[in-house]
């Protein structure tokens, strides 16, 4: 009994720690007053209005979407090529080259940013949105790579053999059998890549110029400067974006689970 109570208490505390800060902060975005504290001074949408009518915030939002879309496209091409290419190679290759592909995710972003800053300065791309796009793809493509590689591993190799037995060329087999079946993996990876770029702060902080500044960099700057309700309104909008993408990921995961279930019952 004591063990049970203790267990429920520990789990509740952990959940409280995980969710309480986020849940506590959301209502403040709708505060009518200009202080970030309770009790609320009436309910209003004025801070969302401020965000959507202030040119610097809007410009940053536009830059972020542009950079994230570009980074996603590059990530999908590179990650897809990496996963499909390595899938046909022997295991030792997969470990070594796959490890190299994944490694940008563990290198501290600040270190990566220092290196990229010098590189883009030398290339004459300093401050250009393209530089942030290219840099973000470095973090996005490993995510597409693992996601597509996982779906490829889950495919039944007999499908490819069957298509081959019916006389389909390798190129035709890939585009009519393998690719449609791994499409959920591509979509999942693309969402990962987009979210990663859209939320990324450090690389964008190092590489952006006033013209190419992204939303997280503006948010970071204003957080260091002064705590204002607009920041929380932006935070709430970003949270909604995350939740939306998470729902999309859940939806993408569903058909695969259904497919697994049918193979299990078979």
């Amino acid at each position: 009994m004591i063990a049970r109570i203790l267990y429920v208490l520990l789990v509740s505390l952990a959940v409280l720690f995980l969710l309480a800060p986020i849940l506590a902060v959301i209502p403040l975005a709708f505060n009518g007053g200009s202080f970030l504290s309770y009790p609320l001074d009436g309910v209003s949408l004025r801070w969302f209005e401020t965000f959507l009518t202030t040119p610097p915030w809007l410009m940053a939002l536009g830059n972020s979407v542009k950079v994230a879309l570009g980074a996603t496209v590059i990530s999908v091409v590179l990650g897809g090529a990496a996963a499909v290419g390595l899938h046909a190679l022997p295991n030792a290759w997969r470990v070594v080259v796959g490890g190299l592909f994944m490694s940008p995710l563990v290198v501290p972003s600040v270190v990566l940013s220092v290196g990229l800053f010098f590189l883009f300065a030398r290339l004459g791309l300093a401050g250009h949105p393209l530089s942030i796009m290219l840099a973000h793809a470095l973090l996005g493509f490993p995510l597409v790579f693992i996601s597509v590689a996982a779906t490829l591993r889950g495919l039944d190799p007999n499908l490819d053999l069957a298509a081959s037995a019916m006389g389909a060329s390798r190129w035709y087999r890939f585009w009519t059998v393998t690719f449609p079946l791994t499409l959920p993996g591509f979509w999942t990876g693309a969402i990962f890549a987009f979210m990663t770029s859209f939320d990324e702060v450090i690389i964008a902080l190092f590489l952006s110029s006033p013209e190419s500044i992204t939303l997280p960099v503006v948010l970071f700057g204003s957080l260091r400067d002064k705590l204002q309700p607009t920041i929380v309104a932006v935070a709430v909008l970003l949270t909604c974006t995350s939740a939306l993408f998470l729902a999309a990921l859940g939806w993408l995961g569903r058909p695969r689970q259904a497919a697994q279930r049918t193979t299990e019952t078979r």
Partner: protein, 390 residues
């Protein structure tokens, strides 16, 4: 034939991401390493002096004439940078060089005596030593600063008065990362257990909460902590309403706030490996242990916990390695005394424009992360046979 063409097309596919990684990842990291020992500002701006001077830096007429020639050819900007760097090694050299450069408009320097006539300080060996050392295209100056060495008046190395600041910062980085890893595992453990073993509704809701947190912007989560921990924040109001404190407590811009926010940001990285591990442990084991007479605590300690050691290690290791490079959260929630190594790299890079120092600290941080990964790899290697034997 078919096999060969299969390998060829595969290699072509893999070549694209490999080229990308090589050009945008390996080359820049190599560039950082090179820059941490780069000394070309001096080497490139004093070419004649660099070739004339010998290793000991013994002054001679030939070197003096070469120096005068280089100085006369140097433009304002490169001379200023040169003087600033040399002044780090030989205090006073900045003004000496600038004075000499000005005098060169009127005096022609043919030998050592002419230089001494401009300024008698050219008698001091320290300036010639500084020139001799910097004639090398590479320098370990930044690494010396990083471990707390600076120049003594005679031109040698000594431990600086303020001690090894960057080593202390590195130590702080390790210590705080360790704290974050341990706290994150303690909080993640019951959470992962509830997701792995709870009723379906609890499972879905909790996993959803963890994943939402995982995908939520680090800035949003840090903002949340700033807002609730501030002086007028919810936590302070709750404490005062409960009568636990009379005045608001300082909860933010200190170590506690920084650790809490970092744990919150990294918590999913501890939950997910633990969850993977716990899902593989059959629930019947607990019943078996209980039916053999073990109490709930004993069955947990002797049956369940040992089987989750792998998950704990993977989770703690991941959180620790990711913490080492943390910048955003401490920068927003911490005091100056809670900043990790990344903060100083960003500061040298963006504010002080000391790229040599930024590169050197980057190399040190990267080396620490690689060391952490190597240890994790070794543990992983040694762990497997033990698990199989059990």
């Amino acid at each position: 034939m078919s096999r060969v063409s299969l390998y060829l097309s595969t290699l072509l596919l893999v070549a694209l991401p490999v080229a990308y990684v090589a050009f945008l990842y390996l080359v820049p990291l190599g560039g950082v390493a090179l820059r941490s020992v780069d000394n070309s500002t001096i080497h490139a701006n004093l070419p004649a002096t660099a070739s004339a001077i010998d290793e000991a830096g013994a002054p001679s007429d030939e070197v003096a004439a070469a120096l005068a020639k280089d100085l006369a050819a140097a433009d304002r900007r490169s001379l200023g940078e040169l003087a600033r760097l040399l002044n780090l090694d030989a205090p006073g050299m900045r003004s000496l060089l600038l004075k000499t450069k000005r005098a060169l408009d009127e005096v022609e320097v043919k030998g050592l005596a002419d230089l001494r006539a401009i300024d008698p300080d050219w008698d001091e060996p320290i300036y010639w030593q500084a020139l001799a050392e910097n004639a090398q295209p590479y320098t370990f100056r930044y690494y010396a600063t990083a471990i707390g060495l600076d120049r003594d008046p005679a031109g040698g190395w000594q431990f600086g008065a303020e001690g090894a600041i960057y080593l202390q910062i590195l130590l702080r980085t390790f210590w705080m990362s360790l704290q974050v890893a341990v706290i994150a595992c303690l909080i993640a453990y019951p959470l992962a257990h509830a997701i792995a073993n709870g009723p379906p509704t609890v499972r879905v809701l909790l996993l959803g909460a963890v994943l939402l947190s995982f995908w939520m912007s680090i800035l949003v989560r840090t903002t949340a902590w700033v807002v609730i921990l501030q002086r007028e924040g919810l936590v302070n109001e709750a404490l005062m309403a409960l009568g636990l404190v009379r005045e608001p407590v300082q909860l933010i811009f200190n170590r506690l706030g920084t650790l809490l926010a970092m744990v919150h940001v990294l918590l999913p990285f501890a939950v997910l490996p633990l969850l993977n591990n716990m899902k593989q442990i059959p629930a019947q084991q607990r019943d078996a242990a209980r039916s053999l007479g073990a109490g709930p605590f004993e069955s947990f300690l002797r049956v369940y916990l040992p089987q989750t050691m792998r998950g704990i290690l993977v989770g703690a290791g991941t959180v620790f390695i990711l913490s080492l490079g943390f910048y955003i959260t401490p920068a927003l929630v911490g005091s100056p005394g809670d900043q990790l190594l990344s903060y100083y790299i960003a500061d040298f890079m963006l504010k002080q424009l000391n790229w040599g120092m930024a590169s050197t600290l980057s190399v040190i941080l990267l080396a620490c992360v690689l060391l952490g990964l190597a240890v994790a790899w070794l543990v992983n290697l040694l762990w497997r046979p033990a698990a199989r034997a059990a």
